[in-house]
Symmetry: C2
Subunit: 226 residues, 2 copies
């Protein structure tokens, strides 16, 4: 199966990373893959555009099926390989409800992280305002505090949606790791720090760890003052 799959990806991108974690969790190692450089603009190459007309990574195909939205790829892989590898969607209604709720709340965390981390990259110089960046940082802090409170209400050692590793973690862990890579303080967000430590050595996560983070373990300090 994995031989019919191709993933074009960029190092460190949470959407790419979550697709790779899903592939690992579903025991789909051995897929064709190619690491591309965002810095060199390789995500706008014909090779990518042929799979993903948006010119974004990941660009993923399974046979003729194109799944470029990372959530779409993850849901498809779980559905098509349901009985293989880790079961990522719990069956009981209560566990499933919490899993879906957290899974989709992660998109808000992702957006608020991007609003701070990519501010200067997205907003042309003449349109930047300290007041806007300050507001984005406050919104991100509130968002991170909400996740901290979710974890506080659960037992120590919990994943994002309970005692089991689920799709909420597949999509969410890369964003949490990204926050720490960009300087988030585990002293100020201790439960998120514990969650990070719980998941970082999981085989699927280690196998897909961003290679440029391994090469250069020191991250940025963009979020250190949150």
């Amino acid at each position: 199966m994995a031989k019919e799959m191709t993933l074009l990806w960029g190092s460190g991108s949470p959407p790419c990373w979550r697709t790779m974690i899903a592939l690992e969790e579903k025991n789909l190692q051995g897929y064709n893959q190619k690491l591309l450089s965002f810095e060199k603009g390789e995500h706008k190459s014909k090779e990518v555009m042929d799979i993903n007309p948006r010119g974004q990574l990941p660009a993923f195909k399974h046979g003729d099926n194109m799944l470029n939205e990372s959530y779409a790829a993850c849901m498809y892989l779980e559905s098509q390989f349901k009985s293989q590898g880790t079961q990522l969607i719990p069956e009981s209604a209560a566990e499933q409800a919490l899993m879906y709720q957290r899974m989709f709340e992660i998109l808000t965390l992702q957006q608020k992280l991007a609003d701070v981390i990519y501010y200067n990259w997205r907003v042309p110089e003449g349109e930047r305002h300290d007041s806007a960046l300050k507001r984005n940082k406050e919104a991100l802090t509130a968002e991170l505090q909400l996740w901290e409170s979710y974890l506080q209400k659960m037992e120590t050692g919990s994943y994002l949606a309970g005692k089991k590793f689920t799709m909420a973690d597949v999509v969410g862990f890369p964003n949490v790791a990204y926050a720490f890579r960009f300087g988030l303080s585990p002293e100020k967000f201790p439960r998120l720090g514990e969650y990070y430590n719980l998941v970082k050595d999981r085989p699927s996560v280690k196998a897909s760890w961003p290679p440029h983070w391994l090469e250069n373990p020191k991250g940025m300090d963009t979020l250190k003052d949150l």
Copy 2:
């Protein structure tokens, strides 16, 4: 089942509307529901916060299960009531892949619509720039053209992910309808216009049509120059 469900919602909000369409499609009429006013700030009331700590609508619960993210509610309802009402997730791998891909691409359309429609509401006066709004409009136009091209490549009378009405339409139609409500020209986007006409009279959609749109059929012209 529906008697154990409660939906707090606001009129015209695509996330609320898609949850209501999913409930209709799964034959879950008769749920408890309450229409709240965004203008009066009722989405920040204790009644909402008790279900949804983000103070957003929809706020939805089924028994003790809270599903406030509209995508989460839709996926949960399809999963829990799989054999009831319309099957919203196709089984064949090819159909399912396209359905998931379009379903999650809709989030980009939703964001680009919001970047234009809510620009003045979101950006304080002193931070507004004509250049930013112009760029947002260009990005929205490109996004709408992409959807137009998707529909052009399919047979006339197709839904967003093929010949069947699927979850992609449940989540996507409210955004398409929103674009037309805010003045999008069906002459410039004819396939989107046809799609709108195809779906607008569907029973689940009619039953959940925003009441304030019925009261006041004339929309805005925010998008008429796209």
